[in-house]
């Protein structure tokens, strides 16, 4: 039986090793090897080589295929001093990896040579507990959760769609949530607008939702905008910096305004709309997929567009549609999966059926087409109702 020293020597003799400066040069080539840090979690958390992926030695065999599915790609492994990585290199060669190199001297030697080190952020214990069910999903994990905590989502409306979207986005740990709503909580809202309650009757919906979110997850910063989105304030509000917009608006002028602004600010827009038992959900990704105007170049005349106030809506329907919107927003924030861009999802709660139709970019779209004819904000109330906005506002008041 060989001693440990003899075994290590045998392993080192059977693998390829490089020193720190040779590793640096390899990583600077046109086709750099994949750099794999095989140390333990707490060692990684104290700093690692930039660009490395972390696969602890104990999980190497089970996880390496996830990070390096191509066995012909060259790998450079490192640990603290070059011993664990040497054994790891031998293991990966046995697994069929064709070119595996161990960094002799490891991370210690890398630092001693003054080469760059990246100090990773990580979740503290409380966050690891709160988001543990996310951390277990390979597509999210700690990196994804940190991404969510850095993400900023703007909600247009804190009503039927905005309520569930806000709650699930907040629970998921979206770091910053903006809520634009100029309405106050009314008793007739409570049948479906679950961010509000009897305790917040009469309050601004954006403030009421903020209180609910803060009680749910203090990691989330909520920015309430107690105003109706208009051509005058939209650039200021969108200019505050958002990664995704969730449109839960309740009227066509706002829908078209949000669409145009999202195209011009290049922010993906998650669209949802509801009526009685039926809902529609899609994602408008500026310049990649269609926009709202590609789908509906014009709103229906007001007499042909009954609202939920006139037609009603099943209370749970916005819960389903708003939750789908939250799922799309989370995928966009994480950069994973296939979104609904280019597809319109139709849901019918009465028959419990989902169906889907294709959406395509309209090359003649006045906003996102090849030769746009609308390049600045218009009077959206007039566009949708035929009456200039002042008249419409007077009628509403």
């Amino acid at each position: 039986m060989p001693s440990y020293r003899e075994l290590l020597q045998q392993v080192k003799d059977s693998i390829e090793e490089v020193n720190a400066t040779e590793a640096r040069d390899l990583l600077a080539t046109a086709e750099p090897p994949l750099l794999v840090d095989v140390r333990e979690r707490d060692e990684w958390a104290e700093g690692h080589i930039p660009g490395a992926v972390h696969v602890p030695r104990g999980f190497l065999e089970s996880r390496i295929e996830q990070v390096a599915p191509d066995r012909t790609r060259s790998l450079v492994l490192y640990c603290a001093g070059g011993v664990r990585s040497a054994f790891a290199a031998k293991t990966l060669a046995d697994l069929g990896y064709e070119s595996v190199i161990s960094l002799d001297g490891g991370f210690t030697d890398w630092k001693r040579n003054g080469l760059p080190v990246q100090l990773p952020r990580s979740l503290d214990l409380a966050k690891r507990q709160r988001y543990s069910r996310h951390l277990l999903i390979p597509e999210v994990g700690e990196e994804g959760q940190l991404k969510l905590l850095d993400s900023r989502v703007l909600l247009i409306g804190a009503g039927g769609l905005g309520s569930p979207a806000a709650l699930y986005l907040a629970a998921a740990g979206i770091g910053k949530i903006g809520i634009v709503d100029d309405d106050r909580v009314d008793e007739s809202n409570l049948q479906r607008q679950i961010a509000h309650s009897l305790q917040t009757l009469g309050e601004w919906k954006a403030e009421s939702a903020k209180r609910t979110i803060e009680a749910l997850n203090p990691d989330v910063e909520v920015i309430p905008y107690l105003e109706r989105l208009t051509s005058e304030n939209v650039d200021r509000i969108l200019g505050d910096g958002w990664d995704v917009i969730v449109d839960g608006a309740d009227n066509f002028p706002t829908r078209y305004l949000v669409n145009d602004a999202a195209v011009w600010h290049n922010i993906p827009l998650v669209h949802g709309s509801i009526y009685r038992f039926e809902g529609q959900v899609t994602v408008f990704k500026p310049h990649e997929g269609p926009c709202y105007r590609c789908l509906f170049p014009q709103p229906p005349p007001p007499e042909l567009a009954p609202s939920c106030a006139e037609g009603g809506v099943l209370g749970v329907l916005p819960g389903i549609v708003g939750s789908l919107q939250a799922a799309e927003a989370l995928k966009l924030a994480l950069g994973i999966g296939d979104t609904l861009a280019g597809r319109l999802l139709l849901f019918d709660a009465l028959s419990t059926e989902f169906s889907e139709v294709s959406l395509r970019r309209d090359p003649a779209c006045p906003v996102c087409g090849e030769h746009p004819t609308i390049t600045e904000y218009i009077d959206y109330v007039e566009f949708c109702t035929g009456r200039p906005s002042d008249t419409a506002r007077a009628t509403h008041a």
């Binding site: 309740d250 709309s273 789908l295 170049p297 567009a305 916005p318 139709v357 294709s358 109330v381």
Partner: protein, 95 residues
């Protein structure tokens, strides 16, 4: 040629509350003609100047007919036609 036309909730009052109605025709135009002849109240809500109204989308087998041959898009026996007007969303207090 018989097809099923799915009627959106906002237009159901015009067809006696039905969620879908059968119609005949080999093209979108023929299907819509058949539909509006039996339910005249639908005409102004889906057709404008002999074409599909700009605020309505018509899908045949999940594809927007505007990206196919518009009113002349063929409709096969047994296929589903979806009429889809825009829906604003929640409580419309302003339009």
């Amino acid at each position: 040629m018989s097809t099923i036309v799915r009627i959106p909730p906002t237009l159901r009052a015009e067809v006696g509350g039905e969620r879908q109605v059968p119609a005949t025709g080999g093209t979108v135009r023929e299907v819509l003609d058949d539909l509006t002849s039996r339910f005249p109240g639908l005409a102004s809500q889906i057709v404008e100047d002999g074409d599909i109204a700009p605020f309505v989308n018509v899908y045949v087998e999940g594809e927007d007919v505007r990206t196919l041959d518009g009113m002349e898009t063929p409709v096969k026996e047994g296929s589903t036609v979806i009429l889809l007007p825009a829906m604003a969303g929640g409580v419309d207090r302003h339009a």
